[in-house]
Subunit: 283 residues, 2 copies
């Protein structure tokens, strides 16, 4: 029976810290503010937005919502984004990606100021992750993984970590964050011949391929810590599932994040910390 | 008996390609030009400069030497660097690092234009390596490793690579270059408890810790390809040595780079290719 690494208490603890910082900022006359820029009404964007707004309210962070219709043109979109860049009362910008096909996502990423890029989508933020420098912010999901490990007192330094997935949203940045904390990291991907042989040797497994329930007991071993970043709707089971086959993994390993309620639950709390850091001018 | 992966033929082949490109540029009235900015007279800088100038001559690339005294002040140094940034006849800038202590190396790295950063020292270049995008250029030594692997037809995709060292000059960028070519990469460093256990399982070992002759036969296994990036003066032996204990490694593994005459021999050829790419406006 594994320890279940629930996100909620980690998120609550982080939210408390953020709330205190937000209060201090307000006392100095600064209202920490997150702008959420959404184009269209995609269901997963709306769900994340609801979660972020609830978390912002709990943390004492003000939210400015900018919503454009799904068929917005590039000019309108860029004008709104530039407006948020220029607006000194906005400290962080959360932009839902991918954008609809008529909009130029690459241009949007180049346009956004790294110091307001609280979800780490710009080149500047990602460079900071690679260089281990405070340029922009790491993607929130990648940092949420680290936050969970810290909250539950799981040692990282000197440990073997195997990350499944090399995306710029999670696999690559979380690998760098783990390495900066002195883990020895192996990055697996679709061209890795025998992922299971590598993950079985790890102390920490981060499953971030987006392949639902692909990590079964054959990938895992006793004593491991398993962080599941995946979240997909399992039609057959009629519920949300991660990249890890939880019912096989949980009896075997020493600690595991649930899905939902694991990494995902911490992401918005990390986002709020980034807004506070941006408001404090730390980037 | 291992295959000896000498750098010279790889460098010569690359130089031939570069020379043809340089000729084409000259026919269009563009003289591909590398500026070498050196502060002081450090012996290793001078040695590299001589090598680069010889390679440039062979490749048909013009060199503009800027030399400042070892006690140059920040203002003078920055004025010279900015001059090279602005000078349209200069396509690439090689800046010897580290700078003397009175100069601000961080500022210099921020000042240099990524599109002229032919040895990949700026944040922009390193972001390009992480993101796998044509922003700036990878550090020449990291790319020289890939060049050697390609020249000798050593497959990378699907292979296990273990990199010893996580520096921004070589360990981290070469790990990313290997990963972008679909190797499964493990990055070892000073906090890795048992490097030898990891390297013994690799198909490709890249030794880049800077610890002279630290990789002995206990780290290696039959059938491996060993790339030695180290170069240090061995007082006892009275010769240059790499990070690998060559006399133990060579009888065991399937292929190995010599030191000197391995990776180092390819570095200036890669530098010249970067100058051509910069002159072609490819960044």
């Amino acid at each position: 029976m594994a320890q279940i690494l629930r996100g909620a208490p980690a998120a609550a603890a982080l939210t408390e810290e953020v709330k205190e910082e937000a209060l201090r900022l307000r006392e100095r006359g600064v209202v920490p503010t997150l702008a959420i820029l959404r184009v269209g009404e995609r269901e997963d964007d709306l769900a994340y937005e609801r979660g972020a707004m609830k978390r912002a309210a709990a943390a004492g962070i003000s939210v400015k919502n900018e919503v454009l219709p799904a068929d917005a043109d590039n000019e309108t979109f860029c004008r709104v984004l530039e407006g948020l860049n220029e607006d000194a009362s906005v400290h962080g910008i959360l932009l839902f990606l991918p954008l609809p096909p008529q909009l130029d996502g690459e241009r949007a990423r180049r346009l956004m100021r790294a110091e307001k890029d609280v979800d780490g989508c710009t080149d500047g933020s990602l460079a900071g992750v690679f260089l281990n420098k405070k340029l922009g912010f790491p993607p929130c999901t990648a940092e949420a993984v680290m936050e969970l490990l810290h909250y539950y007192g799981i040692p990282v330094s000197g440990k073997k970590a195997v990350v499944i997935g090399r995306s710029l949203v999670i696999g690559r940045p979380v690998s760098m964050l783990l390495m900066h904390e002195n883990a020895t990291v192996t990055i697996c991907h679709t061209k890795t011949p025998d992922v299971a042989a590598l993950t079985r040797k790890a102390d920490i497994v981060v499953a971030a391929s987006g392949q639902m329930e692909s990590v079964d007991s054959g990938f895992l071993a006793e004593g491991q810590v398993v962080i599941d970043v995946g979240i997909s709707w399992n039609e057959e089971k009629g519920k949300l599932c991660g990249d890890v086959l939880f019912e096989e993994a949980e009896p075997l390993v020493s600690a595991i994040t649930p899905v939902p309620g694991g990494v995902g639950a911490v992401t918005t709390a990390v986002l709020m910390r980034h807004v506070i850091e941006a408001a404090n001018g730390r980037r």
